[in-house]
Amino acid sequence: MRWFRFAVIVMIFSVAQAGLVDVIAISNNAIKPDLLLILLVFFAIRSGTRNAIATSFLIGLAADIITIGSPMGARMISYGIFGSCLSQLHKVAAFEKMPQQGIVILIVGFMTAGLTQLLIMLRTPAGSDRLLAELIWSPIYSAIIGPFLFLPAAWWMGIKTRRMKRY
């Protein structure tokens, strides 16, 4: 695992998620892709189990830091748990094709968003008028564009896109 390159790509994706992704947001800025979710799935299915666990929690930490005003730790927990689960699942399924990767992003997106919202509600009980967008539409948007971002991410990390060795 090239940790320096990992730090750079997480930083780029975090800044893009916090500031630039609004440009491609739809429906009055409510629905936007979650770039860090895409990165989470990428590392969970493209790296070894130990690296996947560490990267999942670190990406979750980055997601917490960029969501200013939201209690920290919720995304770190949800990303870490589901990223680790996905890396275990990767032992029996490869997710090589883009539609498969899209479906994985979609499912992991639903689960992480659900758990994150639940944890946030434990800390700050407040209603959300964008719950539907956060729980459903953002994972769908991420699933559509996510597989296309796997190629540049794999190139940057120096990971070959052929079938991975299972751990």
């Binding site: 130990r50 830091i65 939201s70 920290m72 959300s128 008028d129």
Partner: protein
């Protein structure tokens, strides 16, 4: 044997990471938010650039007359504020009957700041600005943009602050409404705001201006904050209004704001 060791270390890694996450999750938010503020300050230029790009691609509302939308809103709000101050002065004159009154905005400092980025999860609507405790900003201070109250400071770090906008679901702003200056509380709803429990005898129409009520030590005189978009009788209780409002300015397009700091 070696396989067992690797498996154990994976479990340990997961356990330690999860424990760290729980510690961060349970830590006081005032402490953990410092990391978020640090991120906003550190990457303020790319975040600002992204915000500018988003505003440039968004369709803008039509212009009123020959001046820009921003100028129009500023002038409109300024006029409304002058009228509000005039009303207050008249009340003071009547009340003190000849005693010399102090101008409402004397001794008030305006700390000008830039908007770093917007934030908000769910129905939260917030701005991060580049003014903090080093500039005299404190929690509860009113923030104005285009001459209208847009929110209050809800969290302060040394060089930045989080502003809870009037549309934030947690926002509760004391207001005055109608020619009788009926008092009420404006609740943010995420996309706009509403004002419940205004008696039906108060005259309210769409287009009426809502003023943030004067608050000692915070706001020296009433200041325009929102515009009524819809006013109808409450379905459950016809004796009160169900009023929907929207901010008096386009908050998303603001790049500069000012924090009201009372010097004494």
């Amino acid at each position: 044997m070696s396989g067992t060791q690797i498996k154990l270390s994976k479990r340990m890694l997961f356990t330690w990471c999860l424990l760290s996450s729980l510690i961060i999750f349970l830590a006081p938010q005032s402490f953990t938010n410092q990391f978020q503020f640090a991120f906003a300050i550190m990457f303020r230029f790319p975040l600002n650039f992204g915000r500018t790009m988003r505003l440039s691609v968004q369709p803008r509302r039509s212009l009123e007359g020959d001046i820009s939308r921003e100028q129009y809103i500023q002038l409109q709000n300024h006029l409304a504020n002058v009228i509000g101050q005039l009303n207050q002065m008249q009340q003071q004159v009547e009340k003190l009957s000849g005693l010399r009154g102090k101008l409402p905005w004397e001794g008030v400092g305006l700390e000008l700041g830039g908007v770093i980025t917007t934030s908000g999860q769910g129905a939260a609507r917030e701005l991060i600005i580049d003014r903090g405790s080093n500039n005299g900003v404190k929690e509860g201070h009113y923030v104005i943009g285009d001459n209208s109250v847009i929110g209050t400071v809800c969290e302060v770090s040394s060089n930045s602050s989080r502003v809870r906008l009037i549309t934030d679901s947690a926002s509760r702003l004391p207001i005055e409404i109608g020619p009788d200056q009926a008092e009420g509380l404006m609740h943010g709803t995420g996309d706009g705001a509403k004002i419940p429990l205004i008696p039906a005898k108060v005259s309210v129409r769409a287009g009426d201006l809502i003023y943030a009520a004067r608050r000692g030590g915070r706001l020296p005189s009433p200041m325009v904050t929102a515009v009524v978009t819809e006013a109808q009788r409450d379905q459950d209780n016809p004796l009160v209004w169900d009023i929907a409002v929207e901010p008096a300015t386009d908050i998303d397009s603001l790049s500069d704001v000012a924090v009201i700091i009372l010097k004494n």
